[in-house]
């Protein structure tokens, strides 16, 4: 068997792949957080909970309606996104004129409610979700064995992230969005319906989280706590990357996932804390974040 630095290659690449998968979720979630923060000036603490809801909706679609994974991949983000529209219209829209911290508190409360409801209904032990037929099994790449589904997750996440980046940077909708982030009043004066745009931005960010939740469902068990642990790491990712740049969020997300995966190989005890350690180093060296503009 091949060895690199005294570690088997298969182990190294296996952890690298796991790291990429975690990184995919960090990237998808921090991307949504950054878009929402840009438009609403709110840190959506409920993002992790909505990621969890996305996974649960996929599970429900399969168990109650018999709809498979491919349907869930489309329907779950739509359903959770629609729920986000309701949330924004009824609750979150009342926060724009008050201190941003209240947005954090309110969405934290929403996260508690969602997690509590699902925990009451489904317990906290986790529910299994099958890998779809077409993606089960794996491929032998010579240096490692790659489960097909894991490769699929990384691929889809990269494509989705790039698509979001393209929409924001290269289309006219994205241009309006960027303009409204800079100066909502002026954009509204040009005849753009900014309140509707805010609602849809929130829904889109949340739909991304739900999409990530569906992707995660077959890998982790569908579990009411799956979001709350993730969201704190994603906060650290956001602090490291800064929320100013879309591409920055994507790169930071994947990069930190890989860093975490490699730490599992070389120094497993630190794998849970490595992202926080990176955050500390970034705060010392570049307090505004790697891609952030100085505040």
């Amino acid at each position: 068997m091949f060895m690199i630095f005294g570690y088997p290659v298969a182990l190294l690449f296996g952890q690298l792949l796991l790291g990429l998968i975690n990184g995919a979720f960090y990237a998808l979630l921090s991307l949504g957080l950054a878009i929402i923060f840009g438009m609403l000036n709110i840190i959506n603490f409920a993002h992790g909970a909505l990621f969890m809801v996305g996974a649960f909706v996929a599970w429900m679609l399969q168990n109650y309606l018999g709809l498979d994974y491919w349907w869930a991949l489309i329907l779950s983000p739509l359903i959770v996104g629609a729920f986000a529209v309701v949330l924004e219209k009824t609750v979150i829209c009342r926060l724009y004129r008050i201190d941003h911290l209240y947005g954090l508190l309110l969405t934290f409360g929403l996260a508690l409610i969602l997690e509590g409801l699902f925990r009451n209904e489904y317990g906290s032990s986790g529910l299994p979700y099958r890998i779809p037929q077409a993606l089960s099994g794996g491929a032998n790449l010579g240096f490692m064995f790659m489960p097909l589904y894991r490769g699929w997750v990384v691929l889809v996440a990269v494509v989705t992230c790039l698509a979001v980046w393209l929409v924001i940077e290269k289309t006219s909708i994205g241009a309006k969005l960027r303009a409204a982030t800079e100066n909502p009043g002026l954009v509204q004066a040009f005849g753009v319906n900014v309140p509707r745009m805010i609602t849809l931005t929130y829904a889109a960010g949340v739909a991304l989280a739900a999409f990530a939740g569906v992707l995660a469902a077959p890998i982790y068990s569908v579990n009411p706590n799956m979001g709350s642990n993730l969201i704190i790491v994603v906060f650290a990712v956001v602090v490291i990357g800064g929320m100013g740049s879309i591409l920055g969020s994507i790169v930071t997300g994947f990069g930190l996932g890989v860093a975490e995966g490699l730490t599992k190989v070389f120094y497993p005890q630190a794998s849970a804390t490595v992202i926080f350690v990176v955050m500390v180093i970034v705060l010392l060296a570049r307090p505004a974040g790697l891609f952030g503009k100085a505040a």
């Binding site: 911290l101 996260a111 508690l112 925990r119 009451n120 804390t273 705060l283």
Partner: protein, 310 residues
Amino acid sequence: MFGFSKEQGIAFLLLLILVVVCPFVLYPVFLMNVLCFALLACAFNLLIGYVGLMSFGHAAYFGMGAYVCAYAAKVWGLTPEVCVLLGGITGGLLGVVFGWLAIRRQGIYFAMITLALAQMNYFFCLQAPFTHGEDGIQQVPRGALFGIFSLANDRAMYVFIAVLFLFFFLLIHRIVHSPFGQVLKAIRENEPRATSLGYRTDDYKLIAFILSCFIAGIAGGAKALVFGIATLTDVNFETSGEIVLMTLVGGMGTIFGPGVGALVLKGMENYLAGIGSWVTVVQGCIFVVCVLAFRRGIIGEIGARLKLVL
């Protein structure tokens, strides 16, 4: 005295009477739990209410205080007052490091950084051998105060905790109403202006942060002695959220609010224990309602109605 206005003096007298009378009516261990969390919420309120710093990771200082206090009492066999003090110092030292890192960013980022650092601390506690991981440090002896007065009796312990609470409550009040506290409030209102007046705002923020963490550590140590246990629950982020909720319910930036909030939430947990896991949902709902309709909190609302600063 202590910078109390007349109304605040009356309110403090009421508090004093309550602290003295309650153990004859209610279960002392419940009251001690309330007092420990009230102290913790007061420490948190020192930051959010008077400096405008939102620390979402106060469980770290509370929990580490609890661990070190429990360890000192059980393994080293030190007397309770020394153990609690060690808990406070631990909280304070952790506050030096975390505060020094976190004050580099403002507002919402500050909250996220403190939360992330607290989570890092949680993973440390999960793996470090002295915390005994999932089991926690159990069967911590309460010991004898100054090596003389045994605290094994709940009433005796209550007196110790009540004195501790009142001392630090008055200390916080004194800090807030000192010239130092005035600068803190200036930073809360307008930091660039405070800077332009020649104050090193970062130093003031850091000192306030360390003080708050020290008192949080004291509260944690006291709690560890009351229940004889220090566990991962004390350091996890649900506890951090609960602290925020207590302060929000009672009233941010009021002196008596955090204590009232602690009483309300701990009372709810105690008397609504029958609804089990619904407690999280209820807490979430309280968060949402408070933020939407009740931002001043209980004491803040009473104060606003009566046109008083409580």
